[in-house]
């Protein structure tokens, strides 16, 4: 279980996270919604140890990420997919995927390569193993980013606005893969602006507003008129982000009207 307890993160005088608590249990798909600057990505970065905490505690299966030794262990349990892909440009697609499993998990090279090739085939990139990231489209790069994360056999997949830098067509490519992972029972913590998609695949949705978690509800309750939608801030957000999203068959816009 990922447990975020009262996490505070400040950048100078600006408080990005003002005491956020959240849990992600195995098998769950938890989506974090919220407008830009609400602290969504920072929350992910506090879980994978890319930010140091100014308060509170984050544990991954009981491992405290504030402790360097435990963080090293925790990082073997979760894998991150980044908004801007963050691939290693000087390495082939295959090497991008096999690097961490070989170096960090110390798995045998041929086993990892076989898995990497299978993963690439499963996302429709079988022929790209020897290409370099710079030779791929954005959607292809992000699919490589997903393969790179999955090759770690992670218990938790952390997805940080993974489609924000992609055009609608490429977004669809990537979301199709994530939907398949969700149905396979992959545990995911998913930061996104794709409200419709989040609604389809999430077991729970949390809403962040100015560094505070204002709602944490099962997906159907989040979209219920007496649930998440009872919150003016969430209604406002949804009317802008997903004017066509539907609640119980009716577009959110109609319910909001």
């Amino acid at each position: 279980m990922i447990a975020v307890e009262g996490v505070v993160k400040r950048f100078g005088a600006h408080t990005v996270l003002g005491g956020v608590s959240l849990t992600v249990a195995p098998g769950e798909v938890v989506t974090i919604l919220g407008s830009s600057g609400s602290g969504k990505s920072t929350l992910i970065r506090c879980i994978n140890g890319l930010e140091t905490l100014d308060g509170g505690r984050v544990t991954v299966d009981g491992l405290d990420v504030a402790d360097p030794r435990q963080l090293a262990q925790a990082r073997r349990l979760s894998a991150t997919v980044f908004q801007l892909f963050n691939l290693y440009p000087h390495m082939t697609v295959l090497r991008n995927i096999t690097l961490a499993p070989e170096l960090v998990l110390r798995r045998p090279k041929n086993e990892v390569e076989a898995q990497a090739r299978a993963l690439l085939a499963s996302v429709g990139l079988a022929g790209k193993a020897d290409s370099y990231p710079g030779q791929l489209s954005g959607g292809q790069r992000q699919r490589v980013g997903i393969c790179r994360a999955l090759a770690m056999n992670p218990r938790y997949l952390l997805l940080d606005e993974v489609t924000s830098a992609l055009d609608p067509e490429m977004t669809a490519e990537v979301l199709a893969i994530l939907a398949r992972l969700a149905t396979q029972g992959t545990t995911m913590l998913f930061v996104t602006h794709e409200v419709e998609f989040a609604r389809r695949i999430s077991t729970r949705i949390v809403f962040l507003d100015q560094g505070r978690l204002i709602v944490d509800l099962p997906t159907d309750q989040f979209f219920a008129a007496d649930g998440g939608l009872a919150h003016p801030r969430i209604r406002q957000f949804l009317s802008k982000m997903a004017p066509s999203s539907t609640v119980a068959g009716a577009p959110v816009s109609e319910i909001l009207a």
Partner: protein, 223 residues
């Protein structure tokens, strides 16, 4: 007063001098390369006191004349430790440290040019700092640094001629000896100059080849 003409021994003397120059250059450049890039990695990871100390020291070395550094080591240090240093040792020490200073600033720029996003990805995936340097930072920083390093190498090869003033019998000192014996300065220094040129040009060509090879691999980097 009669002076001897050129003999076969003079050729041997020049060849020996050239060997000393090249050996001194190769040895000190290699040591400088290791020390300079090591210091750059220390700075990159913001190791508190050590980083600042190295930066200050190397800044001093980069911004003072090599000849002054050479005199300081060869004449100054023995006065301090009451122990003479051999010319070759003093020359090796000075040139290594001086090379390290220039390599340091090139390596720092190379490391800084590697995208932060990849470094974060590697960290999030659990790579250790050593693995990060070896697999992510190092190869890419080298691609950025190779052109300035080749330029530095050509320069440092020529700087070795300064060690002749403390008595190391390098190519310049050999030329000096030859000149005193034959009193034909134009012929002697032209010959010495041509030998330096040949060595530097060879180095440039080798460096360019290395650079092309690195860049061929780095083509997808968009360099």
């Amino acid at each position: 007063m009669r002076h001897a003409g050129f003999t076969w021994h003079d050729g041997a003397l020049l060849a020996q001098g050239l060997g000393v120059s090249l050996g001194l250059f190769a040895g000190t450049f290699l040591i400088g390369l290791i020390l300079g890039s090591g210091a750059a990695v220390v700075r990159h990871f913001r190791v508190p006191a050590l980083g600042t100390l190295l930066h200050t020291g190397l800044e001093l070395l980069r911004n003072s004349p090599v000849l002054v550094q050479l005199f300081l080591v060869f004449f100054g240090v023995p006065a301090l430790i009451h122990q003479p240093l051999t010319p070759v040792f003093a020359a090796g020490l000075t040139l290594s440290a001086n090379t390290a200073a220039f390599v340091y600033f090139i390596a720092v720029a190379g490391l800084d040019a590697v995208g932060r996003d990849q470094v974060e990805a590697a960290r999030a995936f659990g790579l250790s700092r050593i693995q990060l340097v070896r697999h992510i930072l190092g190869p890419q920083a080298l691609t950025f640094a190779v052109a300035p390093l080749v330029g530095l190498a050509v320069n440092q090869l020529q700087v070795t001629s300064l060690v002749s003033v403390i008595g190391v019998v390098d190519l310049t000192k050999a030329g000096d000896i030859l000149n005193l014996r034959t009193l034909r300065p134009f012929a002697v220094w032209a010959m010495v100059g041509v030998l330096y040129f040949a060595a530097a040009k060879t180095l440039t060509l080798l460096g360019n080849r290395w650079e092309r090879r690195l860049r061929a691999h780095a083509a997808p980097l968009g360099l």
